[in-house]
């Protein structure tokens, strides 16, 4: 079973919810945590995992042999990402635009193209609080987060409740994280921004056919339009977390709520049971 904690809007509390859910469930179930927010992975700040293995995630970049290239332009014409230009009698590759699909190499009639691996980021895996933990980390200056997310999801072990912390947004990294999950747990806040982006996140989960449920964080700071929207759309609101300076302060210092406020452990367990009902 895989549950992805996601949101359209950033900063709504995805990581807080994912971490507390993991800790509350870990007494009763074998769990695993995957931090798929590879641009800004934060769960490690709360869970302090060990790093036992580190592996590189790469894309393949074309390199053109100028001695073999007769500047026919086939590679440049074939590339859908405008990543190759023919200049000065040979092809010039724009590495940052290349998706590493390998089509240029396939179309080159002179077999002048070979491919070299280029690191996009790393996957670090280890143990946190007694359960397996892995995170992806995108290298600075790299644009492509999705290959790391796809690679990270391969770490998921069968027989475990896998909790995935997703990146914000509605684009390809968010899709990559949610795709194939049993449930998207969408964390939002009761504000116009929260509502607008929740609608987008619901759109994403529907597009990939993953059922959605909602957690309203910082309840009380805004209005009731999020709840009314969920009611109209038939999306279950499974948990509301009131805005509270003490909670905000614990989160700020990287302290999981369930450790310092035991009542929250039960509330998160209850959240888990409700999620099981939604899935079944």
């Amino acid at each position: 079973m895989r549950i992805t904690v996601a949101s359209g809007k950033g900063g709504t509390g995805k990581t807080t919810v994912a971490v507390n859910l993991a800790l509350a469930c870990s007494d009763e179930h074998p769990i695993q945590f995957l931090d798929c927010d590879v641009e800004e992975p934060n769960a490690h700040l709360f869970l302090e995992p060990s790093t036992e293995r580190r592996r590189s995630v790469e894309k393949l970049l074309p390199r053109i042999d100028p001695d073999l290239c007769d500047s026919c332009g086939a590679c440049s014409q074939a590339c859908e990402f405008n990543a190759i230009a023919v200049l000065g009698g040979t092809g010039l590759v724009y590495d940052e635009l290349c998706h590493g699909c390998g089509l240029c190499r396939m179309v080159c009639p002179k077999e002048a193209i070979r491919e070299i691996p280029h690191e996009l980021g790393v996957i670090e895996s280890g143990i946190a609080r007694g359960f397996p933990f892995a995170q992806g980390v995108l290298n600075i200056g790299e644009a492509m987060a999705t290959p790391i997310i796809h690679e990270l999801k391969k770490e998921a072990e069968t027989g475990r409740l896998v909790i995935v912390d997703a990146p914000p947004g509605t684009g390809c990294p968010a899709i990559a994280a949610i795709h194939g999950s049993d449930l998207a747990l969408l964390v939002t806040e009761p504000t116009p921004f929260g509502l607008h982006d929740l609608k987008a996140a619901v759109g994403v989960s529907r597009a990939v056919g993953v059922p959605a449920a909602v957690v309203i964080n910082r309840d009380g700071i805004g209005d009731d339009r999020v709840e009314r929207y969920c009611e109209d759309e038939g999306i279950p609101v499974l948990l509301k977390i009131s805005f509270d300076r003490e909670i905000a302060s614990l989160c700020a210092q990287g302290k999981p709520l369930v450790d310092s406020m035991p009542s929250w452990r039960n509330r998160y367990r209850e959240l888990h049971h409700q999620m099981l009902e939604v899935v079944s």
Partner: protein, 287 residues
């Protein structure tokens, strides 16, 4: 031309709140929303759309099953796992590279253009706005961001307005990199949480990587004085000028609920702090 872009690494730190406030405080300017995944700036502006269009930023592979001989070549060459065991193409995994179409001996696959979002130009009470909304699950957010910036630049030439206030996306990847290129200054908005500080380090590295001058604003600074102090020393060590600190203020959300920027409301602790930040930006030639 002067353009300032709000970024944060971590989401929800207050980029749009600040961009909205700058929209209200700055005189002649064009507003640009480069967070095409979760565009929110318009929610403060009551926009009326002047012009809009679909954006076809990518292609997707479509297979003609009558022609397919199930030879499996497409699946072998696809590096994005977009072709399943039954040789169906998953449109959300397909990157539109065309390797499968090239490899198919039966010519059963073609690439077709794919609408990935909608761009728009709108009039608002605070000035013209260029923005876009990505369709759910599309993968061209970087390209759509570039497209919005082109629209904003064209608008800037047409209206002879050379000041751009740009709201950015969270993260450090594709859409952020697309938004950073060519701007004159970046204002990083952080909050005093360990996540905020962690993500600030990474976004600052990205902004430095592209050699753009960066400035810092610490939002909700009183929520965790210890972490605020750590952010201040981080900024000092990294020669990152601090434009100001904004206290946590419920009025910010209240103004948002009413569809206004905080500085358009009655004076509050947050609005005063933001006005100070704006003045320092103006004096420092940042905007």
């Amino acid at each position: 031309m002067s353009s300032v872009l709000f970024l944060s690494g971590k989401g929800g730190t207050g980029k749009t709140t600040l961009a909205g406030a700058f929209a209200a405080l700055s005189k002649e300017k064009i507003l640009v929303d480069c967070d095409v995944d979760a565009a929110n700036l318009h929610l403060l502006l009551e926009p009326s759309i002047v012009e809009q269009g679909e954006y076809e930023g990518s292609k997707t592979a479509v297979k003609n099953d009558d022609r397919c001989t199930a030879c499996n070549r497409c699946r072998e060459v696809c590096r994005f796992n977009a072709i399943g065991e039954d040789l169906s193409i998953d449109e959300y995994l397909c990157e539109g590279c065309g390797a499968c179409a090239f490899a198919c001996p039966a010519k059963a696959i073609e690439l077709v253009p794919r609408v990935s979002g909608t761009w728009m130009i709108a009039e608002t009470r605070l000035g013209p706005l260029a923005s876009a909304e990505l369709d759910p699950g599309e993968e061209t957010s970087g390209k759509l961001v570039m497209h919005v910036k082109q629209k904003a630049n064209a608008l800037s030439e047409k209206l002879k307005i050379d000041r751009l206030v740009i709201d950015g996306a969270p993260g450090i990847g594709c859409p952020v990199i697309a938004s950073v290129s060519g701007v004159d200054a970046v204002v990083l908005v952080t909050e005093p949480t360990l996540s905020g500080l962690h993500d600030l380090r990474r976004i600052l590295d990205v902004v430095k990587h592209f050699d753009i001058p960066a400035h810092l604003v610490i939002n909700k600074a009183d929520l965790s004085p210890d972490v605020t102090e750590r952010i201040r020393s981080f900024a000092e060590q990294n020669q990152l000028p601090v434009l100001g600190e904004i206290p946590f203020d419920r009025r910010v959300t209240e103004a948002m609920v009413e569809g206004r920027s905080i500085v358009e409301d009655d004076r509050s602790a947050a609005s005063e702090a933001i006005e100070g930040i704006f003045e320092r930006c103006a004096k420092g030639g940042i905007l």
